[in-house]
Amino acid sequence: MRNAILLTLSLTLASPAFADMTKEELGKLLTELDDRQRNGGDYKALAYLEQKEKDKADVVREVMIFRRDSDDKLVMLFTKPKSEEGKGYLRLDKNLWSYDPGTGKWERATERERIGGTNSRRSDFDESRLAEEFDAKFVGDEKLGKFETVCLELNVKPGVDVAYPVVKLWVDKVNHNILKREEYALSGRKMRTAYYPKWQKLYSESKKAEVWFPGEMRFFDEVEKSNSTMVLMKSIDLSSLDQNMFTKAWLESKSR
């Protein structure tokens, strides 16, 4: 089945009739892009975050990401540097909470929250939900470096809260990985450009297929042009997680 989907995707992306796809077909395409990255079971990762800003010291963080995609749950726990240890985020339902062990306080965060003070967002670490959140339209074929890509424009669906309502995606025609992503405000102003230069795959027992994830993400701020963020996935583990992990109590317990 998975192979069939990948074959369909491969044929779809390579097809010259791509521009003629209906809205539904483009939606299906987004579903398939999501599905490549979806595990269905649990997921944990150790990521390195680095933010560079003009005239400022680099912001450097290590964060552990825990996901249970079947329940749309996410926990992020900062482990380095020492001053950030124990801080974290918890996503439950449509709520994103941030926690600081220094104050013992939970606060609601929005989708625009800058994770750990970098230019990354919650959605950069969470399960891909392109089909759920956006409608797509074809823009054209483009070459990105040596890669042949298809460029799509995505517009947020009504009532969905995302960090950026308009997104442009450049998808590799051969390997079907998203290589570039531009994000726009509703006014049309370009806010952020993301590059995904490394895609890694890991066999998932729960999915019984390979799961793709971006091993490296580079974000360039389009408002403050001198600011950039790098995210490196240092390690991934798809084994099962503790049942009680996605609670406030669990995150609190890590800094006791």
């Binding site: 990762a45 150790l46 680095e50 933010q51 560079k52 800003e53 005239d55 400022k56 010291a57 912001v59 450097v60 290590e62 552990m64 726990l77 482990t79 380095k80 540097p81 020492k82 001053s83 950030e84 240890e85 124990g86 709520n95 062990p101 220094g102 104050t103 013992g104 306080k105 606060e107 800058r114 003070g117 990105l144 470096g145 040596k146 890669f147 390997n175 990985n177 590059y195 230069p197 490394k198 895609w199 890694q200 795959k201 890991l202 994830f213 091993g215 580079r218 790098m230 490196l232 240092k234 390690s235 991934i236 583990d237 084994s239 609670t247 406030k248 609190e252 890590k254 800094s255 006791r256």
Partner: protein, 708 residues
Amino acid sequence: MDRVVLLVRMAIRNLLASPINLLIGGLILFGTLVFVILGGLLDSLNQSMQRSVVGSLAGHIQIYSSASKDELTLYGQMGSDPDLKAITDFPRIEEALSKVENVKMVVPMGVSGALITSGNIVDTTLEKLRDLYKARDGKPSPPKLAALPRDELDRRIVSETSHMRQIIKVLRGDAEKAMTDMLNGTAVDPYNLEALRRVEHDEFWADFEKDPYANLEFLENRIAPIVTDTSMVFLRYVGTDLDKFEQSFDRMRVIKGTPVPRGHRGFLIADLIHEEQMKLKTARRLDKIKDARANGRLIATDDELKRFVKENRLQTRELVLQLDGIKTQALTKSLQDALGSKETAIGPLLSELMTTTDENFDQRYQQFYGLVVPQVQLYRVNVGDMLTIKAFTKSGYIQNVNVKVYGTFAFTGLEKSPLAGSTSLMDLMSFRDLYGYLTADKAEELKEIQKQTGAKTISRENAEDELFGEGAEVVAEATAGVIDPDTAMSGAGRKLREEDLVRRVYTEHEFNDGVVLNAALMLNDPTRLDETLARISKLSDEQNLGIKAISWQKASGLLGQIINVFRALLFVAVAIIFFIAMVIINNAMMMATIQRTQVIGTMRAIGAQRGLILSMVLVESMVLGLLFGGLGMLAGSGVLGAIAAKGIAAPNDVMYFFFSGPRLIPHVTGAPLIIALVIILFVTVFSTLLPAVMATRISPLRAMQADE
């Protein structure tokens, strides 16, 4: 000398001989009067503003790092704080400055701001409940709760649970109303409705205790988002050595609570902010109506007061959401009795109470504070509360700090000034935590993490070539790694123990030994400010202190320039008046000279030299100027004195700062009088020069011919 006396006597005799002289005198009198009054007012305004700026934040002199990107402006520049480089060796700088003659005190500072968000009423109620459960179950919780006995914690849990159920009842009522409005196009989110239906049933609450944390999370994630009225307060604060601040800024006084104990961490909220932004909106509007009525305004005729009454009548929800079941019942009963009403719902009863007119206002005001306020939380932040301040650090990431609120404060005379009353005070240690200065240790730790990761930096310009150019490989296999949070965390991380931090007493050395952004210098003799500034500048060069010293006026930025702008306008206005006066005086004196041709000719005939004639005309005009100018000065001083007897009331709250209090008391100062004298002498002599020269050229022959 005899000649001067003679000339003055002649001038006085001739003074009133011509109506032209009276016209000229009138002009000089008017110009001088205007100059002395406006000059005196401006001088008084300048001195008042100096008292406000110096006494509330700036001190006489401010110092900051000379390597700063921006200039220091204490009241911000176009809405943002200046980018100042941190002073890292403050003890050395303080020691050097303390030795400068005329420097009385050096107060370390740093100005910043933060947004305080407290979540909506459901969030705050659930947070209280969660803390109570944690305290009951022996989990880490706020020290105040952890110290309570079990039965008190149980009692509070019951009370907060009852409050939560009351809130749900109100939300359910809102949902019902929205459903009945559906015909009008208002939809109810079925997702919200489902959650509300679940929590309104007794079963949910009967089982609540079985797993309180899971049930709290359900309420936090499904019910709290339904309420959208999250409140935010922007707090501007000065991090400082609070003891030194109190000693130096003697107009500061604590309004509610107590000063922060010596050497402790703590926060003092500006009382104006506490009243304006942290008080229940309904109560604040009632206070404003009361003040306005005391100043003669009427609800019946004043549009703003009418609006306040309307808002109070319609916005009773913030009160209703604060009440639990027991309080609702009690308040309903007491309001029914007080208003003589048979209404049984609390919302309409509160609306009725808030329907205030000029006739019933005083009674309703008393009823509100007597019956409603004891049942609700009047201020969002109270003295003794722990305030969580969330600020962007210097590096751009967010830092949170808990700091205890010891009280509120204001500066005497500036209680209503938004400029002086908008800055709160914080201890220097908490300020440094929020500022997030990167110490050498922290920088080394970050460098090590970067080194271990070995990530390559890529520039924006070359990103696509480097990442996707020839040789780029996008796809790679991964191997599963071991990720264990318990082993990854050092355990020596940032575990601020609230109780320890609140209790800890810091030495003066600890307060001084750290980053500051600027410092206020108080002087023994403020009149020697320029001289002291020059000494500090020299000292900084000699000892390589790397600091820049500026006056209070410069430190107050645009605000400090306002007086200079007013002064420039005054000089322009006075220059115009005196220019017109000069033209008129010149013409008048020409005419007067022509009229006196015969007299001057006769004087010349009997031996008067040209020098005497020149002196006569000039002295005459000088006497005229001095006499009427003097009258103008006297009149101006009299007018200022009369104004000073009552003072000029500040027309609005902003002017409290410029007036350094509710009234400006003007006084006659030397400067305008001296300047007026110089201007008068210049104008009269300059405008009389040509007629005087003309007079010296009158010959006796011509004078006699004119007579024929």
